[in-house]
């Protein structure tokens, strides 16, 4: 099989094949509006199944599913920080620091809504949230989340670290989609920056003297936050085997270094099981 010749064969009936396959081509590099970029994301799918394997392409339905799932998580984070800002729980000395994160989360909501709409989908509406994790009763285990800054930052850390895991777990569904996957990875990186920043803040404020900007698990427990209620959010972070290589036995590092060097994914089902019925009110 000669794949180069296949391209030439297609070119005979579709002179635009090169541009379709590679959105970076000069012919379209000047299209800079966001809507156009997203429209390009859907283009490879128009080629049909021939390149399905090459692009590992998911259906538009699958992509919209991931995006609406991501939007749901961003709604939660944006609501959390917006409520925190409005409540006065954030001390003045940290207001700019938290405002940076709040601003990013609100932008993620707007961005994902625009992407979904641009791809012909309908953005989901925001669920109802209970930031105390009380499933709409308002008296859950984090009932002082908007009055006690220590609780607020502990919940913030759980949301950010879980957000990182969620985007990571969804990425393979977007395999090969240059625009949407790159956007998802780029939000993923920002959530990780936030997670690092919240962890540093918790350390520097003395909320947790041992917390690091990265997740340092033990062989018995993924959760390094000292908050047992969120053990489930860190389950699996204790993994030390990557790509078939046991980092501890084969490469001789400690469990702490092995776990901190790699963040672990969660599936959509795992993430929703952690949130629905507590922070996300059961529909």
């Amino acid at each position: 099989m000669n794949l180069f010749n296949i391209i030439d064969e297609i070119e005979k009936v579709d002179p635009e094949i090169h541009e379709r396959l590679n959105p970076r081509r000069a012919a379209i590099k000047n299209i800079t509006s966001f809507g156009s970029k997203v429209a390009l994301a859907a283009m490879p799918f128009a080629l049909g199944t021939m390149f399905k394997k090459a692009y590992g392409a998911a259906s538009t339905t699958d992509i919209l599913g991931v995006l609406n799932y991501a939007l749901t998580l961003e709604y939660l984070e944006a609501y959390f920080y917006n409520q925190g800002t409005a409540s006065g729980v954030i001390p003045a000395a940290n207001s700019a620091y938290i405002a940076e994160i709040t601003d990013d989360e609100n932008k993620h909501v707007t961005f994902l809504k625009n992407v979904i709409t641009s791809l012909g989908g309908t953005p989901v509406t925001s669920p109802t949230f209970d930031l105390t994790a009380g499933n709409n009763k308002g008296n859950g285990p984090f009932k002082d989340v908007l009055t006690n800054y220590t609780t607020f930052l502990a919940v913030a850390q759980a949301f950010e670290d879980t957000g990182v895991r969620a985007y990571k777990g969804a990425a393979p569904i977007l395999l090969g989609n240059q625009v949407v996957l790159t956007a998802a990875l780029s939000i993923h990186a920002v959530e990780a920056r936030h997670a690092s920043a919240i962890r540093l803040l918790r350390h520097d404020l003395g909320h947790d003297a041992n917390i690091r900007p990265w997740i340092v698990s033990t062989s018995a427990k993924g959760n390094d936050t000292g908050v047992a209620l969120i053990d489930g959010n860190y389950a699996g972070e204790e993994n030390v085997t990557q790509g078939g290589v046991n980092l501890v036995t084969a490469l001789g590092v400690s469990t702490g270094v092995a776990t901190a060097s790699f963040d672990e994914p969660l599936t959509k089902d795992q993430v929703l099981a952690l949130l629905v019925g507590s922070f996300i009110v059961t529909p």
Partner: protein, 235 residues
Amino acid sequence: MKTETNLETGGVNMARRSFLRYAGAGAAAVAVLGASSCRKSDYYPPTDTSTLPHIDIGTGDIGILNYAYALEQLEAAFYLQVIATPYSGMSSIETSYLTDIRDHEVLHRDFFKAAIGSAAIGTLTTDFSSINFSDRTSVLTAAKLLEDTGVTAYDGAGYLIQSADYLTIAGKIVSVEARHAALISNLLKAGSFADTDQIDQNGLNKSATIAEVLAGANGFLKTKVYATNFNYPKV
């Protein structure tokens, strides 16, 4: 077509076999991507760069893994030097953080070497002559550059990866690099963990092409890294 069957030959243990089981599919897939940017009718062979000392990352998913391996080699070498010759006034908590990061980057480096196996590029020779390792600002500014570049590199190359397993592994590493990047930024300037130099107007981390990243990274390398199958150097 040529496949990377050499990966399945002698000396490759079972773990590595498992890790690389998608290598063949990856190579085939990237041939399509390569073809898309080099149609037969206007394809020109690369200019002869063979006389310059360089290492090429290769093709397909292995090429992307080698790209990551090259960047992790660079980061590991940098932090090994940072800890070996601490800048004046390095606080105990800074020493602790930078030692952690050194350990993470060394592990990333060693992991890629083990995982890629016989298809791995060789050991790179670094050139940090532009960095003053006794000066905090010089060191942290270089650290920020390396970490930010690492994040933009993984984010920008993710779509080129054909194997879901490799993509997940890249994802596992890039979020740790982003954690490093945010910390280093905060050490340089409190609250700068997601500043406009790295985050765009949509709240997204910036991303960069292989060509953009290598053009910068090669400034720290005596042995230059090329990616001729990914448009670097440009022909």
